[in-house]
């Protein structure tokens, strides 16, 4: 027990001294939230969108009244289409509508490709009502949208946040082995440790416990920052949250072990872990929804553990529903991966020939 305590203290001290790891674990998730939260926080919602309007000819007043009925839009009128183009280019307005008495033209800046589908949806809604209004008709059918499940109020940031947490957990677990331990092996620090009475399992246990502590601290700080700065409301189910974080951390360390075992040089493990984590970050639906990707990338995504870690954390934080059976099965598989591979890591620590 004394041995484990000493190793644990040493692990935490080493981690606290490693500026790069500290930055990656604590600062990166916060930076991601601050930057992406500000850049994309309002994505997909009609609220506060700025519409530029050029109206001429017959039915101009009808169009103005339809736009006013849509609500949630800040509208600015321009005299000529060229003025509207300049305003859209300068981002004084988000998109524009030009009515010349016969044609209703939606004006979009193609460089805002990630937001244009939302603008065009608003424009379609206006066009549909206007088409009826100029014939003196009101809409006959109310299309009511009902959001089911716990994520009814989830906006872009609320959906992304559990993914950012999952990526933090993955990085911490993966690089604890394919980075920290492999670097100790590379620098022959393990050679010194294995000639002491230390049992390799105690070192593995110290790394696991220290990383779990770091991961909990990091994810809770990130959650608190998102809640305070961006008023993100999450309904965290703490039992599920703890289960997900533990399973994902241990599972990621199992993945790190698998990487350490397949590379010839311990120093290559970090590079391979970097490639793997970056690939997973992009194709697992953390920042970009899997649904917008082509079919073959969606198939690759389905094989990525990070996707399941993120889904489990979305469920644990009340962002998305899933069946409890699927949630526990996901965690059991991740935990099983770690539990099966960590004893192999113990043997890796004392194996001299793979230096």
């Amino acid at each position: 027990m004394t041995e484990l305590r000493a190793l644990l203290a040493a692990e935490l001290r080493v981690f606290a001294r490693d500026k790069a790891s500290l930055t990656l674990t604590f600062l990166f998730p916060l930076l991601f939230i601050l930057i992406f939260g500000s850049l994309m926080g309002g994505m997909g919602s009609a609220e506060g969108r700025r519409l530029g309007l050029v109206v001429a000819g017959e039915d101009a007043e009808t169009l103005r009244s339809v736009v006013a009925q849509i609500g949630q839009l800040e509208t600015t009128e321009y005299v000529a289409p060229a003025d509207l183009d300049a305003a859209v280019t300068a981002r004084d307005v988000d998109f524009g509508l030009v009515w010349d008495g016969r044609t209703l033209t939606t004006v979009v800046d193609v460089r805002r490709f990630e937001e244009n589908s939302a603008y065009e949806e608003i424009a379609r809604g206006i066009a549909s009502r206007f088409n009826l209004a100029i014939q003196g008709r009101e809409p006959l059918v109310d299309v009511e949208k009902i959001v089911e499940g716990s994520g009814a109020n989830a906006n872009w940031l609320t959906r992304v946040l559990p993914g950012i947490l999952a990526f933090s957990v993955l990085s911490a677990g993966l690089f604890a082995v394919a980075g920290h331990i492999t670097s100790m092996k590379q620098r022959r620090l393990l050679d010194r440790l294995v000639v002491t009475p230390m049992h390799p399992a105690n070192l593995v246990a110290a790394v696991v416990v220290s990383r779990l502590g770091v991961v909990f601290a990091s994810t809770l700080i990130t959650l608190a920052a998102a809640s305070l700065v961006f008023r993100v409301e999450l309904h965290v189910h703490w039992v599920r949250y703890v289960a997900s974080v533990v399973a994902a951390t241990v599972g990621s360390m199992g993945l790190g072990t698998a990487i350490a075992l397949v590379v010839r040089q311990p120093s290559s493990a970090g590079s391979l872990a970097n490639v793997l984590s970056m690939t997973m970050m992009f194709v697992s639906g953390i920042y970009f929804p899997v649904e917008i990707m082509p079919a073959f990338l969606r198939a690759i995504s389905a094989a990525m553990p990070l996707r399941y870690m993120a889904d489990a954390l979305r469920y644990a934080t009340g962002v998305m529903d899933m069946s409890p059976a699927r949630f526990w099965a996901t965690n059991a598989v991740l935990l099983g991966l770690g539990v099966a591979l960590l004893p192999v890591l113990s043997r890796y620590l004392v194996r001299a020939e793979r230096r």
Binding site: L31, G42, T106, R111, F113, D142, A154, V275, M320, D321
Partner: protein, 404 residues
């Protein structure tokens, strides 16, 4: 001259020999270009090549002889459940209650499936839909309305995309009903059009937007990580001290370093451009005089920032931490991968002092791929100001180092 070339050669060799540096410097930009282009190749096409699991529960049972408006909706959704042109999978996999199945019980089951993500959306046409729609057509809206429900699953993008497609389908329902009742004058129908701006008259493709961004990202990464890494670890390992006892002086050291950095940037630019052009069909031409000048300016700016980090950091690890911290805000607030929209004042200020913002805008505008947002003079002046500032501080600190 030979000393300058030797420093340049050493800079290139050190970068290419180190696996981690090589990964971030060469492999990562190629990887990012490929991945982002593939991911965003579907953007703008609703649903892309996806098939959405949609449930339709039609509770409307119009009396015999009266108009059946729900049948039109059912038909439209069935049509979307058929294979698309070119043999592609259908947009919708449509689920409807089977013969003899109690529709309300079926609806409950399907809503449960929707909540756990097995369905993307559930459409409910309520009882009396056709009757209410016909009544609404002939009376005032205040007294009669007909409802149609789209149930979606919270927190799921597939559900949002499906709802957006369903919205487009249902946007024409009113018109269809009025037309069938002879109450819609098609000759007065609004003609819809779409006009794109911001491309200088050329078709917009994401890869043409991304390619200049990835090239600049590569230059920035090389400047932020490789330059301070070489200098600071060289300082820690006392390699710099050995330089200063030779006839090599600070200006020639800088010149050699700059030459090596330029060679690395050229290599990186070549690889990224070739991949973009031949693998993803990028048409943006960066090999024109003005874009090339912007690329030289970008390489010089990244080099200068690298020197600044090397000058202010005490150790190699501290330098890498600083580089890590400023790298991400510079990339994302510089609009390298996505255009930047509205920002809160603090981030807007950060964006406006970020040299990458100006380089990206100037480079893209100079290729003709899109219209620039910033004044052209600023896209040159701001990076030049950064170079002057960074080099001033770096030379000052290195001279101190030389005197010690």
């Amino acid at each position: 001259m030979s000393a300058t070339l030797a420093i340049a050669r050493a800079q290139v060799a050190v970068t290419l020999r180190e696996r981690i540096t090589l990964f971030w410097f060469l492999v990562f930009p190629l990887f990012l270009l490929a991945l982002m282009t593939l991911i965003f190749s579907n953007v703008g096409e609703d649903g892309g090549d996806m098939t959405f699991e949609i449930t339709l529960v039609n509770l409307d049972r119009p009396s015999p002889g009266s108009a059946d408006f729900s049948a039109g909706i059912v038909e439209a959704l069935r049509h979307l459940g058929e294979a698309r042109a070119g043999g592609e999978d259908p947009l919708f996999a449509l689920h409807v209650p089977g013969e003899g199945v109690e529709p309300h019980a079926y609806l409950d089951e399907e809503l449960a499936a929707l909540r756990v993500g097995t369905r993307a959306a559930v459409v409910v046409i309520p009882q009396g839909f056709s009757e209410n729609a016909a009544r609404a057509a002939f009376s005032s809206r205040e007294t009669v309305s007909s409802k149609l429900s789209i149930h979606t699953s919270g927190g799921r993008t597939s559900s949002d995309l499906a709802a957006s497609i369903l919205d487009q389908v249902f946007a024409t329902v009113d018109r269809e009903i009025l037309t069938r009742l002879g109450l819609f004058d098609a000759s007065r129908s609004v003609v819809l059009a779409r006009r794109e701006i911001g491309t200088q008259g050329r078709e917009f493709r994401y890869v043409d937007f991304l390619l200049p961004g990835v090239v600049l990202m590569g230059f920035l990464t090389a400047g932020l990580f490789s330059v301070p890494g070489t200098i600071l670890f060289g300082r820690e390992q006392r390699i710099l001290r050995t330089y200063w006892v030779t006839p090599l002086d600070v200006p020639r050291y800088f010149a050699g370093f700059a030459l090596g950095h330029a060679a690395l940037c050229a290599l990186q630019f070549g690889c990224v451009s070739l991949l973009g052009r031949f693998a993803f069909g990028a048409r943006v031409d960066l090999l024109q005089p003005v874009p090339l000048l912007y690329l030289v300016l970008a390489a010089a700016t990244s080099l200068a920032i690298g020197f600044l980090i090397a000058a202010v950091a005490r150790t190699g690890n501290a330098g890498m931490a600083i580089a890590n911290i400023i790298n991400m805000p510079m990339m994302f607030l510089g609009g390298l991968f996505f255009p930047i929209g509205e920002l809160p004042p603090a981030l807007r200020a950060a964006m406006l002092v970020n040299p990458v913002t100006y380089l990206a805008d100037g480079l893209r505008a100079s290729t003709g791929a899109e219209a620039g947002v910033l004044p052209p003079i600023a896209t040159v002046a701001v990076p030049l100001a950064w170079i002057a500032l960074c080099l001033g501080v770096a030379v000052f600190r290195l001279r101190l180092d030389e005197k010690r």
